[in-house]
Every structure is written in structure tokens, then in C-alpha cells.
Amino acid sequence: MAKKLVRSVWDFENEWVETVAEVPERLPEPWAPDRPLRVAGQKYPRVDGYQRVSGDARYAFDIQLPRMLHGKILRSPLPHARVKQIRAEKALALPGVVAVFTHENIPPIPWYGDSFLFDPHVRYEGDEVALVVAESEAVAEEALGLIEVDYEPLPFVIDPEEALAAGAPKLHDEGNLWNGRPNVYERGDVEKGFQEADVVVEDTFRTQVVHHAQLEVHVCVADWEGDQLTVYETTQATFSVQRSLASILKLPLNKVRVVNYFMGGGFGSKLGLEKQTVLAALAAKQLGRPVRIANPRKDEFLAMGNRPSSIQKLKVGAKRDGTLTAISLWSLGPGGAYRSAGAELGTPVREIYKCPNVRTEESTVYINAGPARPKRAPGHPQGTFALESILDEVAEKLGMDPLEFRLKNYAEIDQVRNRPYTSKYLREAYEAGAKAIGWYEKRNKIPGSGVGPIKRGIGMATQIWGGGGGPPAYATVEIVSDGSVIVRSGSQDIGGGTRTIVAQVAAEELGIPMDRVTVIMGDTALCPYGPTSGGSVTAASITPAVLAAAVEAREQLKGYAASALNVPADQLAWEPGRFFLKSDPGKSISFEEAASRLRSNMIVVTGARGPNPEGYTINSFGAQFAEVEVDTETGRVRVLKIVAAHSVGRLINPLTGRCQFEGGIIMGLGFALLENRWMDPNVGRMINTNLHDYRVPTMMEIPEIEVIIVSEPDTKANPVGGIGIGEPAIIPTAAAIANAVYNAIGVRVRELPITPYRVLEALGKA
């Protein structure tokens, strides 16, 4: 296949990345919106569903190798300290303990920029201090308690505002404010905009720290055979883990294999190489035995990332007719103790609505707490909560319906990059969502006007996100003589159903049943490169590569069909299931028969993702509508219904797609009403490091969920026409719920989570 190199710019977790990618000269014919599809776009249960629910699926957590050792990490019990001395004698004397690693016997491998794998300057409760390796997990855990560490406690700061104050304890040489200054974006002139406004509203909003709380903890198993390292890892970033690990261990890429067949959730907490993976590899090398390190749940809370909290000061100006004249945002959030992910959240403010004058100023600070990591649509749920809340306030002041107000300020183009979108069906989403929730009938015209102590309300919010994906991304399609097909792609199925949609795209294009396709993903030794699963890019990146490979593989099979029919290949045409003679459609040969001619030959084709269209922005859009019930005596908010109407191009599988929306909405509900990291201000430690004090929603909280896809396939974005949905699903949920709560009780809660105590306090009852 002829190829060329292109430069492609695309959106990954809200950051625009530029890649140079090899792409095919000839791109597959896009699946036109009116093309009838047999398999793709249909509701197929997951190809690995049975394995997952029966316990058959082997997760990294389940890997057991002969002679395997178990590692446990000793973490700092203090929020800020200097490690003076570590004495491991007692731990080493415990029967079953094989080794203890600390900064004294591990090379100073750089981490987080200015720190190390083991850094004697520990900066949060949970910072890595030592690794114990033992014959069993129980012994390793017991040995942790026998390691004696002398800490010199240092002053700590866990409040982002205090971290900015003069004289605050400093975590890094650069000072607590990242880069020494805020991130500033400006278009137009906000001061002028506010002067032109008839109505200006200004408010402060706060959101809490929440965790990924994924089911599968971080776990890895490192196994050396000679100089070949295999790592079983639960990760959203199989290839990136391979690359980082090889570079740190100074190994050629072909000596490092990362395997990740099944994953129990990540939500952004598994986007790269972990310290423990490096430690497991180093320990396994030195000890000559495989080493497994699995985190206890507590460590997940302390050290494996979180969505940072936020303080957002927003100011919005609008004309009497509803036209926005200016929006300004000042935000502050903690990145935690190290540089891992920032606390920016301004994209919704900059991009959702048409507004000529916009200024955002976003700051991230260091505090002595677990480093942030991207969590499902980093920045967006919290940014959207504040923006959509204040827009409702402005609409009320203007006496406008919130939907009408949003439509008045509909952005036809990407104002930041000044170019059109490949597709945007947000108007349709507003319309469909409003209809499904009963917006015009059920919404209280006067907020809080319901009678009785239990009040109902309706609210909505808008969502914007990337998810267009891009090159490089590859897939191979292999056809063998019994007509079965193997598809390989180096991305991973992190639980969203990627394996299933890959099989659907291949089965669709090859005209064969789903059960004839096997998909292999998440193995750097077996699969061609595929991107990290973050930013909702996986489907849009790899399915076009699968399509390209399938088209080409079928083309090659046509040669075998032609020789079987004894005609030149160019006289054959294809329809799902068979090749037929153009001049005599009755004369045909099935896919299987053609494949049987392969005998011991095989067709192996690598397809590549084509470039993104130049001069366009690829975004998903959507609106969610919430109906809630608030008990004004207890403060409890119950979500009765969420309608999710989204513009995401083509949904490749409405069943797995629906699951993504349900999962995102439930997670958004947890953010809105329940979840919170509690820190003790006096000692700087996290208090609720378990899953009953850290409350994720249960089945009892889950409302009726209606998912409506309003978009047409976006074949301008890519030939399959899908845009990512994993993150859009969570973005507007909390904001819609908050607006619904206001509509129910007539009092606005400007801080998440909207717990009973916050509602009672807002109502002036407590």
C-alpha cells in the first residue's frame, strides 16, 4: 500500500497534539450516511461479554506466573517530610522477605521532572518510600510495618488558596504556582464587553476533589526471559508504557512487551508508566523471578490520581436580547504534589457559546496531596458546572428561557481556532432533549414554586469535547483459508467495548458474520501501533484503520475469487458475502469459498488511519437534561431522569454506546451529589480512603436514563464517521443536575457535591 507522511493536529485530553504520521495514499471510501449497514451501527453484545461476567477474562490482576514474587510499596504517612534514614533489617529478617528497595539501592531515575522514583523528599501522604518483595502478598504487607523510617516532618499545605499565600510551605524550587503564572487566554476585550452588557452576573463556584475509583486497582507483573521483558499491566496506554519503560531501562523497544488484554476501568488514572511498573521490572531483573505489584484500595485513593478541586470566579455579561457580550473566568485548582495533570477547566467557557470577548485565567498550584491525573474529560465537568450554572442565572435575570438563551448564543464555528466544525448537531440535541424531558411542560416557571416539602425541578446543560482522534493508528486484518479473520490493533479495550466495535467494522466491510472475527488488542508484541485510550480518541482513531485494512484485504481476496471463477479480477464486483461477475451477477463465489482457495497462503494487510481534514475542528456536542426531586426537610436530592442527547457522529454500536453514556452519567451523578475526598486540615492526611466513606453511586441512585443520538455519521471527520463518546457522557451531568436543583428549590448551590447538608444550609435551615 502506498503511504505518505503527514502532519496532523488533534485533540487529546483537551490538549492539541501534533503528530507526524504515515498514512495511506489511498483512503477507503467513507461509509456514506445513507449506506445501509448490516453489522456496524447495530446493537451487538460485547464479543468478550461472557468472559467478563463469568470470571473467565484474565485481567492483569489475575496473572499468576511460576515462582512469582509479590511487591508492596511503603508510602509516606506524612504530607511533607524528609526521609533521614531507612532501616530495613527487621523487614529483611522476616521469613519470606526477599528484598527491600529504597532510594539507597535504586538508581535515581527521574520522575515528575524534578523528582525521582524514590525521592527522600516526600511531598504527600502516599509518596513512595520503599518497595518490599516477598514470597507472598501477606508477608510483604507485614514487612512494610517492619521497615523503620526516620522522617523529618516539614510544614505542609493542602489548601490551594493557602498554597498561593506568601510564606506558604514550598514543595518545589519553582514555587507553588505552576510556571510561576496563570494560563491566560484572551479574545476581544472583556472590559468593553461588560460595559456593553445590560446584565452582568458574577459568582464563585467550587468543586471538590474526586477519584477515579475504578474497579481494578493498578497492578503489574514483570517477567524477564533472558533480556526480554514482558509486563502485564492494566493500562490505557499499552504502547506508551512500552516506550517509557524501554527508555528508562535503556532497552531497545523490541525487548519490551506490554500486555493488557482485559482492563477493569481506568478513567484516566492509567494513562502512562507507573513507578511500580519500573520497580517491578528492576526487582524482577535483580531477583531473577517475576514480580507482581498490586495496590491496596487505600493506595489508589492516596497516590493514583484524582480530578482536582476548583474555585471558579465567573463573570458573564449579556444584552437585554440575550446576546452574550463578555465572559471572564478566574480559576484555581491543585495539581497535587507533583506535575502530572493540571487543574485547567476553561475550555467550555472559551468554546461552547458565541461570545466576542472572552478572558480565562487558570492557575494550578502544588499542594501536599496526591498528584492529579486526567479524569474522564479533565476540566470539563467542573468547568461546565460553573459556566452552565451562571448562564442560568443570567437567563433568569433576562427573563429568558435558559434554552432560548443558549440558542441565541449558538456558536456556528470554533471561535478559538476560527474554523468550522466537521459536524455539529447541538440544536438538534437541545430540541430532542427538551422534548424527552418535558422541558416546556414540567419546568417550574418560578423556581422553587412547587408545593409541599418535596419539590421537583428540571435543568439542562451543554457539552463540548474533542474525540476526533487521528493518526498514527494501525490495524491488521488477516484472512485465512477457512474464511475466519483476525484483526489486530495496538490500542486497548479499556472496558468501553472497543474490541466489539473493531469486530463490527471488520465484519461489516468483509461481509461476514461477527463470530468469524477475532480481535486481538493490547499487546505490543502482536499488534501494530494504536493510540493511548484517553480523550475519547480510540474509536475514531482505530476504526478507520480497521476499515482501510479490511477494504484492502477484501481486494486481495478478490484475486483468489477471480482465479477460482477463472475471470480477470476487474470483472468482479462485491456485495456483502460474495464476489460476483459484473456481467453475470448470478455467477458468484462466496467469501468463504474464495478464502478456501488460500490454502496455506494468508492475506495480511496493515491499514493505517488517514489524516484529519484540514481546516476543521472535530468535536462532539451534547445536552443533558435532568429531572430531580429535592426533599427540603432532609436535603436529599434524587435524580429521577436524565436525558442525554448528543452529537457524536455515527454510533458504531448503540448497545456499547448506551453503556458509555450510562456509565458517564452515573459517574457525573456521583460528582454532583456524593463523591468527595476528605482531608484532615490539621495533619494533612486523607480520611476517607475506602469505598464506603468515599461514596460512589449505587444502583439505588441510578435514575432513568434516556440516550438520544441526534447526529448523522460524520464522514468529514473520518471514513467510519464516529466521534468518541466516553468523555462527553459525563461532562454536562452535574451541571444539569445543579440547574435542576435550583429549579426545584429556588436556591442555588454553588458548590459540589450537592449533599443534604449543603441543601439544608442553602435553604437556611442549618
Binding site: 501477606a138 504487607e141 507485614e142 426537610e633 432532609t634 436535603g635 436529599r636 456524593l674 476528605w678 482531608m679 484532615d680 486540615p681 490539621n682 495533619v683 492526611r685 480520611i687 476517607n688 480512603t689 475506602n690 464506603h692 466513606d693 461514596r695 453511586p697 449505587t698 444502583m699 439505588m700 441512585e701 449533599t755 443534604p756 447538608y757 439544608l760 444550609e761 435551615k765 442549618a766
Partner: protein, 324 residues
């Protein structure tokens, strides 16, 4: 978790002996004990299984003697028992609102009453008076979920849902130990922090709860209301049990109002209980009882909301009881 030996006790006498020979704990359903052990808060040398003792898992109702609940009756069994549902609805309701179905299928009545505190500082290895530390972390820390009544010097809330209606019904706890058997009213089973901040119950080494005996229902009506932030798998932020009788004159008589989730022990509200007698079945009267129930509440910095919340639950429990 440290290694330990697990021994099946065959009789109450054997259990008492096994429990006193070396640092030991009793295990029933294990739904709380294993949390304590996994978190390194209890490190017993021996775990004594009570489930192997015959005769402790029966529910017996007798019109004259009342209801006897064996210590090893599971919460699911209690929740589903026809006589309990019919005559002691508050008890069935409380049993049915504990944790989750899985926890109720294994967790026992005895274990529920004897469970250890759930204060997050206590469970999280923070400075804690109850665990022998120098101070109470909750007093000046995160105390949204702590007590508003009977605190000082420890502000935990008693975690048991079941204890609340049992105290309201005037239940007694039957105890067997190395020195024989005894029986105490449930409200005297628990030790308030002012008396001893390091112990939750009066159980002495080697003693186990064998049964809970509830006086005959005799026309008493009851209700239990629990409020938690989540619909399942969550402890009470506040709960209320009401047990009362409807007099011939259409007014209430006798009975108790007991609060859960707001004090270090199940909180029998004396004035509210007294005020039941002669009270009308009106919202206004219920409101007065609710005010009395929370009299003397002293919220901490963050938990003032529990006062109006609990008052609303008292009103709701009264409504539920009289309308059942």
C-alpha cells in the same frame, strides 16, 4: 492482616474459655470484624467462631414472653420474619436498611449490636481517644458526620441501625460468660464516652451476647426511619425509631423516641418519649415532640444540619407509625 488461628466453638462455655485464653475475638458474620482486622485495628491471636454453637440462631415469638432473637440470627432472617414484620415493624425495617443485601445475608443481630465505631478517624489510624490516643481528631477536624448529642470527649455516632428500634421497644440483651449469665436493658449495654471513652459495651472478657429479648408487642405501633447519603451501603446520618400506643381517646400513650446516628450511643430521648403520652396525632403535636427530641443538641462546627434533619425524621417516623 496478621496470621491468626480460627477455632469453632461448640458451646457457650467453650466459647468463653477460648476467648479468654489468649488475645481473641468472637466472629459471627464477620461483616465488621474483617474490616477491623484488614485495617489493622484488631490483631487477635485467635478468632472464635460463634456460628458453630447450636441454638443461637432462632427467632421465637411468644405472646406472653415476647420476641427472642438469637444472637446469630441474620439481618435478612430478621427482616423477613412474619411475626417481626407484623408486630415489630420498626425492627424489621431497621434490619432491612442495614448496608446491602450481601451484608444482611451474613451479618447477625448480635454482631450488629456489638460492631465497632465507624468514626473515620478511629478507622483510619488517626489520633483518637477511643483508641488510646491523646486527643480526638474529630473535635477540630472533619465532623460533618459526627454526633450532636452526648459527645465529649468522643464525638462518634453509634453505627448500629438495629439498636435504635430495639432500645425503643425496651429490649434486653442476654449475655453468657465465664461467670454465668446476665441480662441487661439494651440502653445500659452501651457505655457513653463520659463514663469510659475506650469501651463501647459492658461486655467483659469472655462474654458473648446470646439473644435479644423484646417485650410483647401488645398493640404497640412502631416505625423506623433512616437517612443516609446513599440509598444503600451507607450508615445513618440520622435515624429515628418510634414505639408508641394509640389510646382509646385517639391520643398517643406510652412509648419511646430513640435517635440513631446522632450520638455515641443509641439515644433515648426522654422528654420526647414522655411527651408521647397524651399527644394528638397532628403535625403540630409531632413537631413539638421533634423539638423535644433534639433538645440539648450541641452541634460541632460542621454538623448543625443534623438538627433540622433529625427533627424532620422524628416527624416522619411518627407519621409512619400512626398511619401504618
Amino acid at each position: 492482616m496478621k496470621n491468626f488461628e480460627h477455632v469453632d466453638a461448640r458451646s457457650l462455655a467453650e466459647a468463653s474459655r477460648l476467648l479468654t485464653e489468649k488475645p481473641s475475638v468472637a466472629i459471627a458474620g464477620g461483616q465488621d470484624l474483617l474490616c477491623m482486622m484488614k485495617d489493622g485495628l484488631l490483631e487477635p491471636a485467635r478468632v472464635v467462631n460463634l456460628k458453630s454453637i447450636p441454638g443461637l440462631s432462632r427467632i421465637v415469638y411468644d405472646e406472653a414472653k415476647g420476641l427472642s432473637i438469637g444472637a446469630l440470627v441474620t439481618l435478612s432472617e430478621l427482616e423477613e420474619h412474619p411475626a417481626v414484620r407484623q408486630l415489630y415493624p420498626a425492627i424489621a425495617q431497621a434490619a432491612g436498611l442495614v448496608g446491602s443485601p450481601q451484608i444482611r445475608n451474613l451479618g447477625t443481630a448480635g454482631g450488629n449490636l456489638c460492631q465497632k465505631p465507624r468514626c473515620w478517624y478511629y478507622r483510619g489510624h488517626f489520633p483518637c481517644l477511643r483508641r488510646g490516643g491523646d486527643y480526638c481528631s474529630a473535635a477540630a477536624g472533619q465532623n460533618r458526620y459526627h454526633c450532636i448529642l452526648g459527645g465529649d470527649p468522643c464525638y462518634m455516632v453509634h453505627p448500629s441501625d438495629l439498636a435504635v428500634p430495639l432500645v425503643a421497644f425496651g429490649a434486653r440483651v442476654e449475655i453468657a460468660g465465664p461467670k454465668g449469665r446476665r441480662s441487661v436493658p439494651l440502653e445500659e449495654f452501651y457505655i457513653p464516652p463520659r463514663v469510659d471513652v475506650t469501651r463501647e459495651t459492658i461486655l467483659r472478657p469472655g462474654e458473648v451476647v446470646t439473644a435479644i429479648v423484646v417485650p410483647p408487642a401488645r398493640g404497640r405501633i412502631s416505625a423506623f426511619v433512616k437517612f443516609a447519603e446513599r440509598g444503600a451501603w451507607d450508615f445513618a446520618v440520622a435515624s429515628v425509631a418510634v414505639v408508641v400506643q394509640k389510646g382509646e381517646d385517639g391520643k398517643l400513650m406510652g412509648g419511646r423516641v430513640v435517635l440513631g446516628g446522632v450520638a455515641p450511643v443509641p439515644w433515648l430521648a426522654p422528654k420526647a418519649s414522655e411527651a408521647l403520652t397524651g399527644s394528638e396525632l397532628s403535625e403540630a403535636a409531632f413537631g413539638r415532640i421533634a423539638e423535644l427530641a433534639l433538645e440539648g443538641a450541641q452541634p460541632l462546627a460542621q454538623n448543625g444540619y443534623k438538627v433540622p434533619l433529625t427533627k424532620s425524621l422524628v416527624r416522619k417516623a411518627l407519621r409512619m407509625a400512626v398511619n401504618a
